[in-house]
């Protein structure tokens, strides 16, 4: 199947009415989640996951993916109008976006954010189409030692990129691994850490756990405060950027797209890292760096392009290697497994319509998002006025029904509440949830890969050093660990924490 055929197959699949409908719902919810500060795409995806159980598999995945990249679009609205990032990846957009709004240029700021996201999203979709096949070919060379080493690398990169204490991130990796070993050890047929509780024999349920850690914990944290940010009362006409705006931002969009896309592919990457790096690079290459932070349009365009490109690039490791590399792809991974689909190199061979359907749906979703975000910007601004004390009640009810509907089990409801409390305490004590969730997802696969590798080598750990891919991953992981604990990195991180 050549490139054109694959694109046609993808569009043929994703343009089916049911897939279009789910794509629209996903992008709509994504924008809403992005606009509303306090609920992230991970939490929203976890909450909506049970709703997809009775839906067609591809449509479900298209919807969940739409929530993720849709949130990147919506996140810029609150950054520009309220100086509150709707998403972590929109933090940098606040710097120049809000300043533009203060100068009466909220319209062009919102406009360039939407166009930058669209351009980046479109180019990234084609980037995935071009890169997917060679990467799948590469992934087919992976055996148990390579997978084990890659998973170790993924966990270390995710911890390395954490915004809080590095040691605490590694601690969460260990806790995630321990939680993943609760239940029946399928290889030995022996229960582990079940404490005589029958419900634990099947392991800790992932969906209630994620909903608790992200959804409930987020709501609990939001309930602490009562204050709501004020919307900047700017005149919202003239959303289309002028020719000068385009001249000032087009190369920033291109650079942001490339940086965001490739940083998004990295294990532990995603939308966040690219937005920060692209802003820093734009500031460095700009003719007038002193304008950054004072309303430079390139300072809005670059991070918005990067976060959207990054959110799509993050699908590559999941789709080609079958390894989730951040929380969002972990939730997608769980969703695929629920529908009996194993993501990875064989997916392209066995379910090509699903593989290409999802990828091309991202382009369709980007077109929908442009339509949703430009002409309907006024509606999103009005939504910002819904009081949180009404909204959170509806989110809680949705969480409760969602988690109960998985298995008609009150146990799952209890697990969700418990992990909500744990997630809240973790936030207060400076522990991050993403490394825990990723380790939880990867734990059983890591154990299986290690077991198989050691069986193959008859107990020799040398197998990890004989395979070039495994060795490269382990060397890179070791370098990152050394860098993490170097005096310079520790000092920089402490400065960053103090700034936070």
């Amino acid at each position: 199947m050549d490139l054109l055929q694959t694109i046609l197959l993808g569009f043929q699949t994703c343009l089916q009415p049911v897939n279009l409908l789910y794509c629209f719902i996903g992008t709509l919810i994504g924008t809403l989640v992005g606009v509303l500060p306090g609920l992230g795409p991970g939490g929203a995806m976890a909450i909506l996951l049970p709703v997809t159980f009775n839906a067609p598999p591809l449509a479900s995945i298209i919807m969940l993916a739409g929530i993720y990249y849709g949130a990147q679009y919506g996140g810029s609205t609150t950054s520009i109008l309220m100086n509150i990032p709707g998403e972590a990846s929109s933090i940098v957009t606040c710097l120049d976006g809000y300043q533009m709004a203060r100068q009466g240029r909220a319209g062009p700021a919102l406009g360039i954010a939407a166009f930058a996201s669209f351009i980046a999203g479109t180019l990234s979709t084609f980037g995935i189409i071009i890169l997917a096949r060679p990467l799948v070919g590469f992934a087919l060379k992976f055996g148990p030692p390579e997978y084990f080493a890659l998973m170790i690398l993924g966990l270390i990169i995710l911890s390395f990129l954490s915004r809080k204490s590095l040691i605490k991130s590694f601690m969460m990796v260990a806790v995630g691994l321990l939680l993943s070993y609760v239940g029946m050890d399928t290889m030995a047929g022996q229960p582990r850490f079940t404490f005589g509780i029958d419900n634990l024999l099947q392991g800790m349920p992932i969906i209630p756990m994620v909903m608790g850690l992200f959804g409930i914990a987020e709501i609990m944290e939001n309930l602490e405060g009562t204050e709501q940010g004020s919307i900047f009362k700017a005149h919202l006409s003239g959303l289309l950027p002028s020719l000068k705006d385009w001249r000032d931002s087009i190369w920033a969009i291109m650079r942001g797209t490339i940086i965001g896309f490739f940083l998004g592919i990295l294990p532990g990457g995603g939308a966040l890292l690219g937005s920060f790096v692209s802003y820093a690079i734009e500031k460095r290459v700009a003719k007038h760096p002193e304008e950054f932070g004072k309303g430079a349009i390139a300072g809005v365009a670059a991070p918005e392009a990067a976060n959207n490109a990054g959110s799509q690039g993050a699908f590559i490791p999941l789709m080609t290697l079958g390894i989730p590399t951040n929380v969002v792809s972990s939730i997608l991974f769980a969703a695929l497994l629920v529908h009996n689909i194993t993501p990875g190199p064989l997916m392209l061979k066995e379910r090509p319509e699903m593989f290409w359907g999802l990828i091309t749906s991202m382009y369709v979703g980007n077109v929908m998002l442009l339509a949703l975000n430009l002409p309907l910007i006024g509606i999103w601004v009005k939504i910002l006025k819904i009081p949180f004390n009404r909204l959170f009640v509806l989110i809680i009810v949705f969480c409760l029904i969602g988690v109960y509907s998985i298995d008609s089990s009150v146990w799952d409801v209890g697990v969700m509440i418990l992990f909500g409390v744990i997630g809240y305490i973790m936030r207060k004590a400076g522990f991050e949830s993403p490394p825990l969730v990723l380790a939880f997802i990867l734990g059983p696969r890591m154990e299986q890969s290690l077991r198989q590798s050691l069986l193959l080598s008859q107990g020799s750990v040398g197998i990890f050093f004989e395979k070039p891919i495994a060795l490269s991953c382990l060397i890179l992981a070791a370098i990152l660990v050394v860098i993490s604990f170097s005096r310079y990195t520790v000092q920089k991180r402490q400065e960053m924490l103090q700034e936070d």
Partner: protein
């Protein structure tokens, strides 16, 4: 290092020791044939070592300035998250015996009332509306079987 940091580290330390001991009891095996407890033991050792590092760093470096800078939550800030958790646990206990409609009505009223106690009449109405609308949407239209509880007698 504040009390929450200390508390969480001591909890994690205890957890790692407990899981480590249980893993040994499960059987660690060897490199050629890993036992059921092999990976959990590795993870618990990692957790133990890292927790000790955090504890020692926190206790011995006497980062007084940092702990002074760290803001403690006030009771006013903690009150609503705590009330929510208690409400949710009570909901989980009552869901099967009382059924979805009654427990959800009570929970939603409790949550609305927690935010705006002065508007309780309006809250009662909203709570009834949310419980009924969500039941119709999920149970009737989307075929999610929600528990009927004591309302079963009504058919």
């Amino acid at each position: 290092m504040n009390a929450l940091d200390r508390g969480s580290c001591i909890f994690l330390l205890g957890l790692s020791v407990l899981i480590g001991l249980m893993s040994i009891r499960l059987g660690v095996g060897g490199l050629e044939l890993m036992g059921t407890g092999f990976m959990p033991l590795l993870a618990s050792i990692l957790l133990f070592v890292l927790t000790v590092i955090v504890l020692v760093k926190g206790l011995w470096t006497h980062q007084k300035q940092d702990s002074e800078k760290q803001r403690h939550l006030t009771w006013e800030e903690l009150e609503r998250p705590l009330k929510l958790v208690v409400g949710l646990f009570v909901y989980a206990f009552l869901l099967l015996p009382l059924g979805y409609l009654i427990t959800t009505f009570l929970l939603v009223f409790f949550m609305f009332n927690m935010m705006q106690p002065e508007k309780w009449r309006k809250d009662l109405l909203f709570a009834a509306l949310v419980a009924a609308a969500s039941f119709v949407l999920f149970d009737t239209l989307l075929s999610v079987r929600l528990p009927s509880g004591i309302l079963t007698v009504l058919g």
